[in-house]
Structures are given as structure tokens and as C-alpha cells.
Amino acid sequence: MKFLMFSLFLFLCLPVWSSQYALEKSHINYTVKYTFKTVHAKTEKARGKGVCEKGSCQFLVAVPVKEFNSGDSSRDVRTLEVTKAALHPLVKFNVTVPEGNLKSDFKSDVEVELAGVKQTLKDIPFTVKKDGNQFSVSSKFAIQLTKFKIERPKLLTIPIDDEVPIDFTSTWSVK
């Protein structure tokens, strides 16, 4: 009987041994720089999940490009056009990190998918703060628009900076 109970326990519980994380809230901010002007666009509409298995954790965060607000609808519609958001509506961030690294600040590669193009950014630093069942993760990194085959919008024939810094803060809960 004990044997049966133990087996049943293992059978029912093992599938959830792999821990999962849910993105509770987030703030993603990108900055576009131009010779005479700097523009910030932000969103809090990202969704994300994380799963840890066999000592490795994968986190996926995605947000529709249309959810970014730069304070000017004309500029935001132009952003949709140059990033081909109608064809590739989501910008995705994918991070794989050893489970043990989640306990403190860590560095990891980040795979960014934008405009249908994937780029891996190497050794991006992440700051981790634990608070009970939740933990906050923040990071700053930059992408190059040309690497994503994005035609840079121009103002008075001068294109915006190729480099776009991204500021990411998030709160995750363990499921």
C-alpha cells in the first residue's frame, strides 16, 4: 500500500517539480536618439513566462510593438512601419540562464527578436532582487537597428542613431 501511495505521489507531483515563473509586471523603455532630440517610448504591456528544468531556466518576454507609446501617435505609427510590426507584431526577449544564477545578479546572453530578425546580445548584466515569493529583475542593454534590418527614420535627411538603448524592469512570481 505504501509503495502504491509513494508511486502515486511521485506520479502526480513530478510534473510540477520543474519550477515556473510568471511575469507579474514590467516596464520596458527604449530611447531613440537624434542629433537634436531624444525620445523615450515605454510600455507596461509585456507578458512573460519562465521555466526551470534540469538546472536551466528559460525566460521569454514578449510585447506587441504597437503597445509602445512615445508620446506622439504619428511617430509610433512610423515605428510600426519601419519595424514591420504588421508582419512581426511582437518583440521578443529570450534569456536562458542556469537556475542557480537566479539567486543574485547574473550575466546572460539575450536573444532579441524584432522585425522578424533574431540577434543574440552577449553577456548582458541582470540585477536580481528577491522579495518573498517574488523577485525583480532589471537590465539595460542596447540594440543596433541596422542589425535588425530596420530602415532608420530620418529627420531633415539625418537618420536617427543606430543604437537604441533598452531599459527593462520586471517583477516575477514563482508558480
Partner: protein
């Protein structure tokens, strides 16, 4: 020992199939590092599916609004030149030509703005709102200015003092030119 071995056997060989069906029953998705996908994040179809027509419309919209901007700037320049060429009493010969150029280029610019595909859903915000609002001033102004100018020219020809709408030609033209210039500046120094 037999218990442990049997348990391991159950775990190793029963889980992939049985656990999945078990979890499906309780609506608990089983994520693995390999399967984590945006479809697991609960986005609606409109947020994940490609829309080729929308992309084409966005590109067409950009092309037409760039033309709108270009012709709008030419219109501002022509309007400014027409204002400077206008005189009291004697009508300089270049004034009607420059005024006509301003009206023509304004019409072309307006066509591109009105014919451009609409922006995707959602209200407009930021400087675009002011740009659009100013059209309610410079569009009627652009219609009234040549009418008032024509009436003023007729009254000058008859050596009559300017009255009614004709007397307001300069004021209407001035207000129209200023609002048009502000409207153009709002979108010219923006990307």
C-alpha cells in the same frame, strides 16, 4: 530497493504520456525549456498574426504623408512669398501668381493627407493632434483668402474703398499663413 526501482521506472517511462494527459485534464500547461513559446503567453490573434495588408497600408501611409509634408513646406514658402508680395492699392503682378502657387501646392498637400490610409486603431495623441486641429483654421483660411483677394482686387479696380470680406483679405491671409507654418513645423521637426 524494489520500491525505489519501481518508482523510478514509473517516473521515467510513464511521465511523458501520462503526465501530459493528467495535466491537460487539470488545464495546467506543461512548459519545458524547449517548448516555451509566445503562444503560451496568452496574446490574442491580432497580436501574433501577420497582416500583410496592414503593412502595405503603413508603407503607403508613410509615402503619402512624406509627400504631404513636402508639399506642405512648399505651400508655406509660397504663402510667405505671397504675403510679402502683397501691397496696398497697386496689386503687384507676381502676387496673384504666388497666391495661386500657394493654393495649388496646399491642395496637393491636402490631397496626400486625406488620401493616406488611416492609422491603425486607437486615438491620435501628441503633436499630431495639434497639427490636425490647426487644419480647422488654415483650411477655411485657404478657401477664404483667394475669395477675399479677388473681391479686394475688384474693389481696387473700381477705386472703391475695401469693405466686407475684401477688407479682411490681409488678416485672413496672415492668420492662415501663421497657422500653416506652425502646423508644418509641428511635423517637420519630428520623426
Amino acid at each position: 530497493m524494489r520500491v525505489v526501482l519501481t518508482s523510478i521506472f514509473i517516473v521515467l517511462f510513464s511521465q511523458p504520456v501520462m503526465a501530459q494527459s493528467n495535466l491537460d485534464r487539470f488545464k495546467i500547461p506543461l512548459f519545458t525549456a524547449e517548448s516555451l513559446d509566445v503562444n503560451d503567453l496568452g496574446f490574442g490573434k491580432e497580436d501574433t498574426q501577420s497582416n500583410f495588408k496592414l503593412q502595405k497600408d503603413l508603407e503607403e501611409r508613410t509615402r503619402m504623408l512624406q509627400n504631404h509634408q513636402l508639399w506642405g513646406l512648399v505651400s508655406v514658402a509660397a504663402m510667405g512669398a505671397a504675403l510679402l508680395s502683397g501691397g496696398e492699392g497697386n496689386l503687384p503682378p507676381e502676387h496673384p501668381f504666388l497666391a495661386g502657387l500657394a493654393l495649388g501646392t496646399y491642395s496637393v498637400s491636402a490631397y496626400y493627407a486625406l488620401a493616406a490610409p488611416d492609422r491603425p486603431e486607437g486615438a491620435s495623441y501628441g503633436q499630431l493632434n495639434l497639427h490636425r486641429w490647426l487644419a480647422w483654421i488654415h483650411l477655411p483660411g485657404m478657401i477664404l483668402t483667394p475669395v477675399a483677394g479677388y473681391l479686394a482686387a475688384k474693389q481696387y479696380e473700381k477705386n472703391e474703398p475695401l469693405t466686407g470680406l475684401a477688407a479682411q483679405h490681409k488678416n485672413i491671409a496672415g492668420i492662415t499663413a501663421i497657422t500653416l507654418a506652425i502646423s508644418a513645423a509641428l511635423v517637420t521637426f519630428e520623426f
